[in-house]
């Protein structure tokens, strides 16, 4: 097994540089936005933040899933996931949360004491929806994710150094604990950061809907990284068609589950037809956001579903890449569709800051991701299942 010793392609370095430049340009644009349209800035920033978090935290979730289930599909992409969800990238997510913490007054209606005082339901929710509790919980989520990422980075480094076969077992145990902690924390993060934008409205599947979207983002990222690292005559990462096939199948499954969660929420609210719940769909289904909804279903479900049915497309990194790009865009659209109507129920909005925010945050994340890729060998050499995972069909 001397595969995997090939150097990283030039593209990684270039991509890191592009990421840095994009990040800096994006930050400058956000600065300009802060000076010109502060309210809009926070809205766009929240969407962009959740989009970037989807890449980092989604990769964390998929990595935890891999450690629990231990499939060959995950061994070959473990380092990609570790780079995407490193203490560095999640630490950046924690820092990048500061503007949201500072902008609560612009984002969340329930932070306005006079509004809460005049609203019986918001007054009732005060024990949960108040700023100290919100900030405390947010800090707890972010710390938890950083700790999880750090634990796996450390275990992974120790495995590289010592080759102790028991580390794989520790990773599995931490994975089991991690999945539980991750799903619970991300559920409430989604409730706090996004669902409480419309504080009267609630839906218990909302957290799972956001989490599965992040999983889609993470697998789309894996597909693109596969194109970057696994192509050419001497690829840095020896990806075989069957690995790509597995990644494609996971992407397909996550896209379907996303649609399933989305439809479940919709049909239950649509059929129940209770005024306190239907507010979410009145603007998105009948009003100004109707076209966005249709486009979202097409781009996030119908089109990728049809494309990913093909076995050959799933087995080729080149053919999979356009679908992955499409889905990364659809991820942003989904988040925009969740966030923006909360501020503008009666008119479709698309502001230049909506693009600047993902550019800034995604760019910096990309830079940190490439740093993570460069830091370690691309294959976990002492992973006990590596040989099995690399075996040819």
């Amino acid at each position: 097994m001397n595969q995997g010793s090939n150097p990283l392609p030039e593209g990684v370095e270039t991509l890191g540089r592009i990421g840095l430049i994009a990040g800096l340009v994006g930050l400058a644009l956000l600065g300009a936005g802060y000076a010109t349209d502060r309210e809009q800035l926070f809205r766009s920033y929240l969407t962009g933040y959740m989009w970037m978090l989807g890449l980092a935290a989604g990769a964390l979730g998929v990595m935890l899933l891999h450690h629990v289930t231990r499939g060959a599909w995950g061994v070959v992409i473990r380092r990609i996931l570790e780079a995407a969800a490193s203490p560095l990238t999640l630490g950046f997510a924690a820092v990048a949360f500061l503007p949201i913490a500072l902008g609560t007054h612009s984002l969340y209606e329930w932070t306005h004491a006079e509004v809460v005082a005049g609203d019986a339901i918001l007054s009732h929710k005060k024990p949960w929806l108040n700023e100290p509790a919100f900030l405390g919980r947010s800090a707890a989520y972010l710390v938890l994710w950083i700790v999880l990422a750090a634990v796996f980075a450390r275990l992974s480094a120790r495995q590289d150094e010592t080759g102790d076969r028991r580390i794989a077992l520790s990773m599995q145990r931490w994975g089991a604990f991690g999945v539980v902690a991750f799903i619970l924390s991300m559920t409430f993060a989604a409730f706090d950061w996004m669902m409480s934008l419309t504080p009267h409205w609630f839906s218990t599947i909302y957290g799972l809907y956001v989490i599965i979207g992040q999983a889609v983002a993470a697998m789309a990222l894996v597909a693109l990284a596969g194109l970057l690292l696994g192509e050419g005559p001497s690829p840095a990462l020896p990806l075989q068609p069957r690995h790509l096939h597995d990644h494609g199948k996971l992407l397909f499954a996550f896209v379907c589950v996303w649609a399933y969660f989305g439809y479940s929420q919709f049909i239950i609210i649509w059929s129940g037809n209770l005024p306190e719940e239907t507010t979410f769909y009145t603007s998105r289904l009948n009003g100004a956001w109707k076209v966005t909804t249709i486009v979202l279903v097409l781009l996030h479900y119908a089109l990728p579903f049809a494309l990913l049915l093909s076995r050959n497309r799933k087995r080729s990194a080149k053919a999979l890449a356009p679908v992955a790009v499409l889905l990364l865009f659809a991820r942003w659209l989904d988040l925009h569709w969740l966030v923006a109507p909360a501020f503008s129920a009666n008119a479709f909005t698309l502001h230049w800051l909506d693009l600047a925010a993902p550019l800034a945050l995604g760019g910096i994340w990309l830079r940190l991701f490439t740093l993570g890729l460069k830091a370690r060998p691309l294959l976990p050499a002492n992973e006990p299942f590596l040989k099995e995972a690399l075996a040819h069909e």
């Binding site: 049909i267 059929s271 037809n273």
Partner: protein, 183 residues
């Protein structure tokens, strides 16, 4: 079949081997000798045998996809027609075209038709049901084909088919036994 030329009534020549590897080697030899109408019999599916016989072009997926699309379209159209056209009825103030509520039945329609097409398509493409077949005349085939025997059949339809040449080839490959199969 006395008195006539034996070949028209011949189905083929069947050789039995002890292991999958021997069978694979036999398939290669037979293909190298130019035979194309080959079939193998193994007690479980073996990827390499399917590769060697170039059997990876099943039409079952296409049939399934077609049937699933048909099922979805048929059920949705029916639900729409029944609820909005044939017997329009206001139920709980919901629209006559309650498309969100038609989706579960539509989905089930797709799975129902797709699943049946996959199963029936597999049977039809395999020429089943067919209770009898010349291979069953071979005693060792009945005893071992579904347990631990690996068989290679060179069919009489093969353009190059010649009983004695085929027998010579197969007997040279170290089989357990070789049998002519009569139709």
């Amino acid at each position: 079949m006395h008195g006539t030329h034996p070949e028209p009534s011949l189905h083929g020549v069947l050789a039995e081997f002890r292991t999958p590897d021997e069978l694979l080697a036999a398939i290669e030899s037979a293909r190298a000798a130019g035979y194309t109408k080959l079939d193998a019999y193994t007690p479980y599916p073996i990827e390499k045998v399917l590769d060697a016989l170039d059997l990876h072009h099943s039409k079952v997926p296409l049939l399934t996809l077609g049937a699933a699309i048909f099922g979805a379209v048929a059920v949705f159209s029916f639900a729409y027609w029944a609820s909005a056209i044939d017997y329009p009825l206001n139920i709980g103030g919901r629209p006559l075209n309650s498309w969100p509520a038609f989706i579960p039945a539509t989905f089930e329609g797709a799975v129902f038709h797709g699943g049946l097409a996959a199963a029936l398509g597999m049977l039809v493409l395999n020429g089943l049901p067919r209770p009898h077949h010349p291979v069953f005349e071979v005693k060792r085939f009945v005893e071992h084909a579904s347990k631990d025997g690996y068989f290679l059949l060179v069919e009489a339809e093969d353009p190059q088919f010649d009983v004695s040449a085929v027998r010579r080839l197969l007997e040279g490959l170290g089989p357990v036994e070789v049998n002519d199969l009569e139709n």
